[in-house]
């Protein structure tokens, strides 16, 4: 590449300029953005499933409505993010259908947390409060990404995630101030979700040329460890103040740095889940597969030539 376009592109990024869908961009920039964005879209779509199981069971009309609205938002996020991914991937010849096919065939990644079961109502609260809290950390940092179409939709996504957090917090606070059985249910859910939450941010970034470039191009702006610490600072004290236990004997605040020291989570478990070995991965992908099979005729009806009206 000697026509100077790469240098000009890098200079633009360096002075804080943003990249639009129709701008020239290095193929590697496009590829890295696409990978990040399609993983996010897949995660929103798959992330709707654990809580979705609780829409029919939510206790009370208020909860039924709020959990339905929350799941609706997550799918709405998937819609917006897939749209950004579709435009980005057009030069690669990848359509939304291809992305969804890759997802259900187990070829595409999505966040580890959405592979775990949500066996009780308390899981719904913990997911909406802590998993969405974790997601808000990473998505909040991405508001400053250099790819403008992604940054724009993230503004709306983050605003909605902040509402989800309130919804989750409200469920958690209600259970924490409830009966003994309700508190025990909450403690169990925290027990289940704590390690997946630490995993959520990914292992500490290696200093590879690849990751160096991701930061230089401002595709990402904060490291996994920075995000994890930001999460721990906000949420660990809150969980403890509810009188709940955090299942990590090594967890303590370093008063000098303000960082939280935590016991090394089992990263083998993380890699096993990310590679498709999570407890509910296969069953949830099967649900998506079934949906695609059963609804195929509707998509066909929308594209039928006789439908041109």
């Amino acid at each position: 590449m000697s026509d100077g376009r790469l240098e000009a592109f890098e200079a633009r990024i360096a002075r804080g300029d943003l990249v639009e869908a129709d701008d020239w961009m290095p193929e590697e920039y496009r590829r890295q953005c696409f990978r990040l964005i399609v993983t996010h879209a897949n995660s929103e779509l798959m992330g709707a499933l654990p809580e979705r199981e609780w829409i029919p069971r939510a206790p009370g009309l208020k909860r039924k409505l709020s959990v339905l609205s929350k799941v609706q938002d997550e799918i709405g996020h998937a819609q917006m993010i897939y749209r950004v991914a579709e435009d980005l991937a057009r030069p690669f010849g990848i359509s939304r259908e291809q992305m969804l096919d890759d997802l259900i065939e187990g070829k595409a990644k999505f966040h580890n947390v959405f592979s775990y079961p949500a066996p009780t109502w308390a899981d719904v609260g913990v997911i909406a409060w802590l998993v969405d809290g974790a997601a808000l950390e990473t998505q909040g940092a991405l508001l400053r990404t250099s790819y403008a179409p992604y940054a724009r939709i993230l503004r709306r996504i983050c605003a909605e995630e902040a509402i989800h957090l309130k919804h989750g917090e409200d469920i958690v606070l209600t259970l924490a101030s409830g009966t003994r059985a309700q508190r025990a249910m909450l403690q169990d859910a925290i027990q289940r979700w704590w390690q997946p939450l630490l995993h959520f941010f990914g292992p500490p970034d290696e200093l590879s040329p690849n990751s160096e470039r991701t930061f230089r191009w401002r595709i990402r702006t904060r490291t996994n460890e920075q995000l994890r610490q930001s999460f721990l600072r906000k949420y660990a004290p809150k969980v403890l103040s509810l009188g709940m236990e955090i299942p990590d004997p090594e967890l303590r605040l370093d008063p000098e740095t303000g960082d939280w020291h935590y016991g090394d989570p089992d990263w083998n478990e993380f890699w096993r889940v990310v590679k498709g070995g999570g407890a509910r991965t296969e069953a949830r992908l099967e649900l998506r597969r079934m949906t695609r099979e059963q609804q195929g005729w509707v998509l066909a009806a929308m594209a039928d030539p006789t439908s041109a009206a």
Binding site: A48, I55, P59, L65, L68, T174, Q182, Q295, A300
Partner: protein, 261 residues
């Protein structure tokens, strides 16, 4: 003034029955609609249909609150605490979702029936009830627009879509008379001036409007069923599908009805 205070005791009881019937209709169809969330034919539709489900459940909540103000039973108690035998919803609405064609056919025809009774209620002389009916009608307008869009789309979507939607209409229309099941207390509401005519008498107008709408899509309006051959959900003639729905819906709430959730 609390709702219904200007009515006789008999009139209040009849009004309570009517509100409960509408609330149960909205709750049960809202629950069924919500089951589509994440499984609709396209992601864009997941979002649209989840809004419709929320509207229906919110309307149920509004009606239950009106009953709460009259009878003192909490809205969650009314929604989650009654057995199938006490549910007043029409049988059509408790049916499992089936395919998208059945869902759309039921969605459109139920919302048409709902529009007819809301039109009537919006002219009611009880200000609280009139305000609630007007508020609900504004949202139901979108439902009809959404349902009509899909009916047109499926009717013009090639032979498979067309035959599926026609088959679905046969099923839905056969049970739609149950939405207008005559109830003993209807006459009291008319006598006390709450509504101008018995809700069950709206059936003919329903068939006419539905027939016109279907004709514009080139779809056939299935023949009427003789009175008495329709399922009578409103007086407890429910199917195992409703019992299963209620079982699921109340699972957590009933584990401790006195707890705060």
């Amino acid at each position: 003034m609390p709702l219904g205070d200007e009515l006789s005791a008999e009139g209040r009881a009849a009004l309570g029955e009517y509100l409960l019937l509408m609330a149960d209709d909205e709750l049960v169809i809202g629950h069924r609609d919500s089951e589509w969330c994440a499984f609709a034919p396209l992601i864009e539709e997941d979002v649209a249909f989840a809004s419709i489900a929320q509207d229906e459940i919110s309307h149920a909540a509004l009606f239950y609150e009106l009953i709460e103000s009259m009878r003192g039973l909490g809205r969650d108690q009314l929604a989650f605490g009654r057995p199938a035998s006490e549910m007043r919803n029409a049988t059509l609405l408790e049916r499992e979702n089936g395919d998208w064609a059945f869902t759309i056919a039921r969605h459109y025809l139920y919302d048409l029936a709902d529009e007819l009774r809301l039109e009537q209620l919006a002219k009611c002389h009880l200000p609280t009830l009139r305000a609630v009916a007007e508020r609900i009608r504004r949202e139901e307008h979108y439902h009809l627009e959404h349902g009509a869009m899909w009916l047109v789309r499926l009717s013009r979507g090639g032979s498979e879509a067309r035959s599926r939607v026609q088959a679905a209409l046969e099923r839905v229309v056969r049970e739609s008379r149950g939405l207008f099941q005559p109830m003993a207390w209807e006459q009291i509401l008319v006598a006390e001036g709450v509504i101008a005519a018995r809700p069950s008498h709206l059936y003919q107008e329903f068939r006419e409007r539905a027939g016109t709408a279907l004709a514009t899509c080139g779809l056939r309006m299935p023949p009427d069923v003789p009175p008495g051959e329709h399922p009578r959900g409103r007086t407890g003639g429910h199917t195992p599908e409703l019992r299963e729905l209620l079982q699921t819906m109340g699972e957590v709430w009933r584990s401790d009805p006195t707890a705060s959730w």
